[in-house]
Symmetry: C2
Subunit: 436 residues, 2 copies
């Protein structure tokens, strides 16, 4: 199938005021929907990070895509990498996400652009040959992909403004008790069998208390994770790790950078605590892996096809993790159904991915979904791997148009959680890493 | 495509009396041809190591294959691995090839069995969707895959017996001068632009002399490699490495095992010689990689889809090598056109494979080829990546039947180069590692 057009559509959708060490989620999350249009009328779809610069980035690679056969992915990657000045398959995205928001680093732009193209190409190929994307990645080892509940400290509001304002389904959650309520409600709705808390937001003692309250309320059979996005010093990380040893499945990005992560790891081991450290901000690319392995800074890598360079790259990461005895889990940013399906197919085809995947999906609203048939169901904490060709869904073009209109009027043109924090919560707020 | 039959055909073909540290190539090389037959009549073909035990091994996995969809590869692998008692994707094949002939180790049997199935599945899928196998592996980065001339110390004879006896195209080569003649003739015939010598056969001083003679005769623009299959002590390896520094592209498996390889590496570096060490016998599986990286024992891995677990596994190895700054080259055993095509597609789709691939193919004879149209052309030292669907060739069923008859009457039922050495050259011969 020759690609005759690349359609790039910016969308915005309501996002609740969730907190992290980066600041505050804006009223709208931004994404970019890409469609590869084939001469035979087949259309493959992918979803990328959002905003105005992203639209320009996709325009820059248009000539690398249009006119090519949809299978000609390796050469598309080389051209995209070359466009952005990266010629090898491994980008130098070292530590970028520790300090920059995912999607706002210029270092991994080509990987993120290519990733959406690869997803769209796999969707198109799957539709052409009548096979689900997981089959194109080597075949599934799972029929259902488990996801984790993703808890946040949260202010009042459901996200969106005016006509786009969405109901505040989950309510405010700024205390251990209200976070536990959030967990119970989210598990009741989706059946999640593991739970992650986005931390680095309030005093670490309160976050420790929150995790202990979650353990108490949910019982020992629900694995728990906590992720302050590098907001803690080594000392604080050691204290949290020590107090939550035996409670956590893994401790995610407690301290910023590989050196601090390694110090946490070795400090915990010295206290007899073998608690795996996970990362998606100290290790964000293949270039980060050798040093992470060498200093034993990370025991679980959270892959993300969006910025590791596509689903195939993450299956390769899976083999690498297996080889070096590392665990593999999956990171998420705010996303819509196209990305959820891509993540599901990828996880189904990655035997080394042994942890439940992250997803922000429960925080989004049915009104904003862009795939036909509405939201992708999460049942018993899992997404059923579609048997339908490609990703298993078609775009709802009316919903996509509404998403674009929302993008046009929402005013947001990039992601800036710190600005949002200053605007709505604390005019003097500034991200500090570590903050505690 | 549902797989309705697995056809397994043993073949034998004439092989000249080539020498290595394992002993002597037998008069016949053995291979196994597998055909996956689809309900729609599409047939995919793969080629594996040979012999009687291999036939039994394929029978053991028949139920894991027949009845499945041809895309359902991950689950086929899991069942095959389970059949042989290996449940993870990484087998414990540590160092096996240092002491056992490739194809004769029981440790990597499931990987070798699966690899042939995967090749056959990719061939079938390619034929169904009208795309070459390289496209199914992520797309090509090369249109022509360069191979290296593979020189051997050799006794008189073309291989085969009786009606199967083949002409001795290359003649005897047991001296530096005759090996140089072999190189010149092989380059004249195939246009190779790099040269490898299988060593560990005669006194290391003679082998050093041979390499220097090759450099003299071929000029500095032809990269040279030497591979004694671990036949040298660390001391001898250091001496060879020192004398051939500046002459070799890489030094392959000089000493047995990772510890000795590491000692060679560090010894050369201490002398200011940064000569990459390559390996396909100290590093034969993903399980060997972490220790090889940790002790810097190997700088170039020779992948081989036959025993690393299929083409996809080698693309994953490519990413791993790129990540850790290792080079990737490609190993070969005696093989026919099906394997050559699989190697070609794989190399074309593996950006990190930056060295010319090994192949024994010039040592085989047109009369023994099993693909329609006869031997796959090597022109200017390269195989053109087929644009035709699948591997790009169909089996010649008459030639396959002749290969089977040859197998039936040749008497060989496994590979035993040491026995052959005792039978024809030296009744008291015994492989010693290291021998010098």
């Amino acid at each position: 199938m020759k690609i005759v057009d690349l359609r790039v559509t910016p969308v915005a959708f309501a996002d609740p005021p969730l907190r992290s060490s980066y600041g505050l989620h804006a009223r709208y999350a931004l994404r970019t929907v890409v469609e590869l249009v084939g001469e035979d009328g087949v259309v493959g779809v992918g979803e990328a990070h959002g905003g105005e610069q992203t639209l320009g980035d996709f325009e820059r690679v248009r000539e690398a895509i249009v006119g090519r056969d949809v299978y000609d992915l390796a050469r598309m990657w080389l051209e995209i990498a070359g466009t952005f000045g990266i010629t090898g398959a491994v980008a130098a995205a070292d530590r970028s996400h520790t300090y920059l928001l995912p999607g706002e680093s210029r270092l991994d732009v080509p990987l993120r652009i290519y990733a959406a193209i690869e997803v769209a190409a796999l969707d198109a190929i799957g539709k052409m040959v009548g096979k689900p994307v997981c089959d194109l990645l080597g075949g599934r080892v799972l029929d259902e992909v488990p996801f984790s509940a993703y808890l946040f400290f949260k202010h009042r509001g459901g996200g969106g403004v005016g006509d786009d304002a969405r109901p505040d389904v989950w309510g405010e959650a700024l205390t251990p008790e209200s976070v536990v309520e959030q967990a119970i409600a989210m598990i009741a709705e989706y059946g999640f069998r593991s739970v992650k808390l986005k931390a680095g937001v309030v005093d670490p003692d309160v976050e420790i208390e929150t995790m202990l309250a979650l353990r108490e309320a949910l019982g020992p059979e629900i694995p728990l994770r906590i992720d302050p996005n590098g907001a803690w010093s080594v000392e604080t990380s050691l204290r949290v790790g020590t107090e939550l040893a035996g409670v956590l499945e893994y401790l995610e990005d407690p301290a910023p950078g590989l050196d601090n992560m390694a110090a946490v790891r070795h400090g915990l081991l010295a206290s007899g605590i073998d608690l795996p450290l996970a990362s998606n901000i100290a290790v964000t690319s293949f270039a980060d892996v050798p040093e992470a392995v060498r200093c034993d800074a990370v025991q679980v890598i959270l892959g993300d096809h969006h910025y590791w360079g596509g689903p195939r790259a993450v299956t390769q990461l899976g083999r690498l993790c297996e080889t070096f005895g590392l665990g593999l889990s999956m990171h998420s940013n705010s996303h819509l159904g196209v990305s959820l399906l891509a993540m599901t197919h990828l996880a189904a085809a990655t035997p080394g991915l042994t942890y439940d995947c992250d997803t922000h999906y429960p925080w989004q609203h049915a009104e904003d979904e862009i795939v036909q048939g509405g939201r992708v169901p999460i049942v018993n904490g899992a997404v059923r791997v579609p048997d339908r060709p490609g990703l298993g869904a078609e775009l709802d073009q009316d919903a996509l148009a509404r998403g674009r209109e929302r993008y046009e009027r929402c005013g947001y043109r990039n992601r800036d959680d710190a600005a949002e924090m200053r605007r709505y919560i604390d005019p003097s707020w500034k991200r500090e890493v570590p903050a505690w």
